[in-house]
Amino acid sequence: MRAESDISPPELDPNRYWPVLRYLDKAGIAIAPIPQDLDDRDLLASLYRAMVLTRTFDQKAVSLQRTGRLGTYASSLGQEAVSVGVGASMHKDDVLLPAFRDHGTMLWRGVTMVEILQYWSGDERGCDFAGPREDFPVAIPVASQAPHAVGVAMAFQLRKEPRVAVCILGDGATSKGDFYEAINACGVWNLPAVFVINNNQWAISEPTRMQTAAPTLAQKAVAAGISGSRVDGNDVIAVHDAVSRAIDEARQGRPQLVEALTYRLGDHTTADDARRYRDDAEVSARWQEEPILRLRNYLVGRGWWTKADEEALIKEIRAQVDAAVEDYLAMPPQEPTAMFDHLYETLPQALSEQRRMVEDGDG
């Protein structure tokens, strides 16, 4: 019995507050009117192209790993719409704080395939992006990039720049304290930050229900007093729309959390064997929802994409990826002393002896 209302409070219905935004169904049929600015042949073709590039690149990276020419690699197979959709929604001078599986976003932002391969081959130079100089490198410790987004967004706010910090995290990352600390802080200071949860349903072998009892991850925004929303992460149009709007909101000082629902079609990384813990049947079913065919179907239905377009694209992308791989394989290794030369701006005296030992091959 409550003083101010005699009735016990109602159950909170997630679908009421966090409905899933979706324009295309599995088959690529529009089930809701697509906003005009998004329903544009050139835009959609560019998103399509970026998704195909991401997948082709991923496949190549996996095969490089299998043949001993790359280290452990985390493919984004099936999640291309989230990755590309986020990239396409950002302004050039926004700053990305990625997890380790956001190749599509990084590529869209101008990180090169060579750089990504270098990084996953175990070469730090891959994080010295020639393109988006202010973007953060991959964060390996899950969710640890979220507090950085707070600082980056605060920098924008302090300088009164209309820029947004965009942080991508996995579903597993929503179990980590730093994620909550970060979204909570963004709420306190009305920071221009967007947190996109790539909910691919799995964190290595753990399905999302082992991470949380919350039926949606979007609702975690409530804890921070910020806005949350959900989007079909296999519908790149919806992702683009939802994340663009979230970024617009954030730019006005209203931080946002967006949950993008997708599925990890591949293994966790090349070091993982997902058949140990999940059924092939589940994976096959999810292949029916994958984002690339879905958009192609829509494009074809619209008369915006032909067989010839497809063939030309595949050819072009293959050539592009192959060229990048060639460049990657041709990169000379770093000097051994490189491990000293970027640790501090100026090498402290105390390290000079060690550096010299390495230089002398005494290592």
Binding site: G71, I140, A143, S175, S205, E206, Q211, P336, Q354, D362
Partner: protein, 326 residues
């Protein structure tokens, strides 16, 4: 009796402990169906069920903190941290609670938990998968820090750690998870904690190391033997509390010492050992105490990992210079 790897010995010890003692629980990320990313908990879920083998949310602070709660309640949690580079969010719970609960309550509550994790290089993975931060834990009062160097030691020391009434940080050298096989009997026999093991006897120089570096150190000792130099090789095994006696006795005999570890030189645990020698062993020292360690840099990404790691060549060079020192 089968020949097994170190990681299999880790799984075997946990199974044994769970079978012997219903209060033993296993928890961590992916320890269930997946059997741990290294398979160190392989088979445990099938055998002991999801109550006792529990996949946790992805949160290392939680894993350590809930282990404290379970341990205070009389359970013996054996928690896995997936890689040592991800243990940092758990540091607060380890140093502020696990290691202090008994002392804080004057023995009313205690914390018999084990926090297991792979340590060091070994899998050529991205950053944070190759950390060697044993010195950090060795500085925290109230803990034990144990590092096995072989399958049989892993089995015996892990059993001992699980049965120990106080918290143990158990560091499993990734590089030798599968590098060697050894016959290990599943006899439930724990090894002794708090003592060093002499892996090889010698009279000319003492080589002190632990974990995976025992391999390179033993290899160096082999090469030295070819030159007629007899190196004694000590596997510290329990870094904290430190078995100073064995070390002092050995250096008392050889008069010369090289300490080898993968962790960065400065602030590494080799410094503590050298300091003990500089104090209590000074009289016996006939040559400077050298340390062959990782550089004082961030562990590089895999391509340069080997340049970071103390090599047999570096150990040999230091050992020869030490032996030849007059």
């Amino acid at each position: 009796m089968a020949e097994i790897t170190l990681v299999e010995a880790v799984a075997m010890a946990q199974a044994r402990a769970m079978q012997d003692d219903p209060s033993v629980l296993v928890l961590g990320e992916d320890v269930g169906k997946d059997g741990g990313v290294f398979r160190a908990t392989d088979g445990l879920l099938a055998r002991f069920g999801p109550e006792r083998v529990r996949d946790t949310p992805l949160a290392e602070g939680l894993i350590a903190g809930m282990s404290v709660g379970l341990a205070a309640q009389g359970f013996r949690p054996v928690a896995e941290i997936q890689f040592m580079g991800f243990v940092y969010p758990a540091v607060d719970q380890i140093v502020n609670h696990a290691s202090r609960l008994r002392n804080r309550t004057r023995g009313r509550l205690s914390c018999p938990m084990v926090l297991r994790m792979p340590t060091g290089t070994g899998i050529k993975a991205p950053e944070h998968h190759s950390e060697s931060m044993e010195a950090m834990f060795a500085h925290m009062p109230g803990l034990r820090v144990v590092i096995p160097s072989s399958p049989s030691k892993a089995y015996g020391l892990l059993l001992a750690a699980i049965r120990d009434p106080d918290p143990v940080i158990f560091l499993e050298p990734t590089r030798i998870y599968r590098a060697v096989r050894e016959e290990v009997e599943d006899d439930g026999e724990a090894a002794e904690l708090d003592r060093c093991f002499i892996l090889r006897e010698g009279t000319d120089i003492t080589l002190i190391t632990w974990g995976a570096m025992t391999r390179e150190t033993l290899a160096a000792a082999d090469t030295l033997a070819e030159d007629g130099i007899h190196a004694e090789v000590i596997d510290v095994a329990t870094i904290k509390p430190l078995d100073e006696e064995t070390i002092l006795r050995s250096v008392g005999k050889t008069g010369r010492c090289v300490i080898v570890h993968e962790a960065a030189l400065t602030g590494g645990f080799g410094g503590e050992i050298a300091a003990r020698l500089a104090d209590k062993g000074l009289l016996s020292l006939t040559a400077p105490v050298r340390r062959v360690a990782g550089w004082d840099t961030v562990m590089p990404l895999p391509r340069m990992e080997d340049l970071y790691l103390p090599s047999v060549a570096r150990i040999l060079k230091a050992a020869r210079e030490t032996v030849n020192y007059q």
